[in-house]
Amino acid sequence: MKISKVAEILEAEILCCEELADSEVCSACGSDMMSDVLAFVKDQAVLLTGLVNTQVIRTAEMMDMRCIVFVRSKKPSEEMLELAKKNGMVVMATERRMYEACGMLYANGLNNYNK
């Protein structure tokens, strides 16, 4: 699925690196605990989270993720967006809650089993 499609499904606003929204992603994960993302996630390209601090971007960077979706209308700081830009990560924000956002993406084919 293209990152632009992720934004379309979630009615999300892309906040940085929109020029990379044509990239394909094939899996995602949702968590507010970065400890869990670091410990349990493997090869997921999209991170959905309601947590807002710079370590979210760093965690995604360590995991080679390409897109971060902030749920529940959370907005990242300028500092976070700068960090994401440096790493070529598409960042977007949606009003959807975590459960809803994950469900919508999964139902539209972004599941971890169709790789």
Binding site: M34, S35, L38, A39, N53, Q55
Partner: protein, 140 residues
């Protein structure tokens, strides 16, 4: 002994926002050296977890990454309070991180086990009131 490529970092313990900068730099260095992505990711995750721990628990410290022909070695050294019970600290879910750190998305008690999981060897030397040194290697 042949000369090894070595990177050293001062991990600032006073700023949670900057935690991870040494791991980011290491990741970039290893990428430039041409290591495969899975090796780089394992080193980056183990080092980042360790760096976060140093900031949360020990007020920072020093990180040294040495590139050997057959492995990458990461040494994290701090002068923090030390780990009272290393075996207990290695258990998944055990954490002494304060509530404010948990609210930042860390302190789930997964750090040390995850460092072990992502490396081929890991040793912890810790003395109460003196500090902790963690040595990890990833075979290349």
């Amino acid at each position: 002994m042949s000369e090894q490529l070595q990177f050293t970092f001062d991990v600032n313990g006073e700023n949670f926002t900057s935690a991870g900068e040494a791991s980011v730099a290491t990741k970039k260095n290893l990428r430039m050296l041409g290591y495969p992505p899975d090796i780089i990711r394992r080193v980056a995750i183990a080092m980042y977890e360790g760096e976060i721990n140093m900031v949360i628990h020990a007020g920072g410290g020093f990180a040294t990454v040495t590139v050997y022909p057959d492995k990458i070695e990461i040494i994290l050294k701090d002068n923090g309070p030390g780990i009272a019970d290393v075996a207990l600290a290695m258990k998944e879910g055990f954490s002494t991180a304060p509530e404010n750190i948990r609210s930042l998305g860390f302190g789930a008690g997964m750090g040390l086990p995850n460092m072990k999981k992502n490396t081929d060897t890991m040793t912890i030397e810790s003395e109460l009131g003196v500090g902790t040194t963690i040595t990890m290697t990833v075979n290349t």
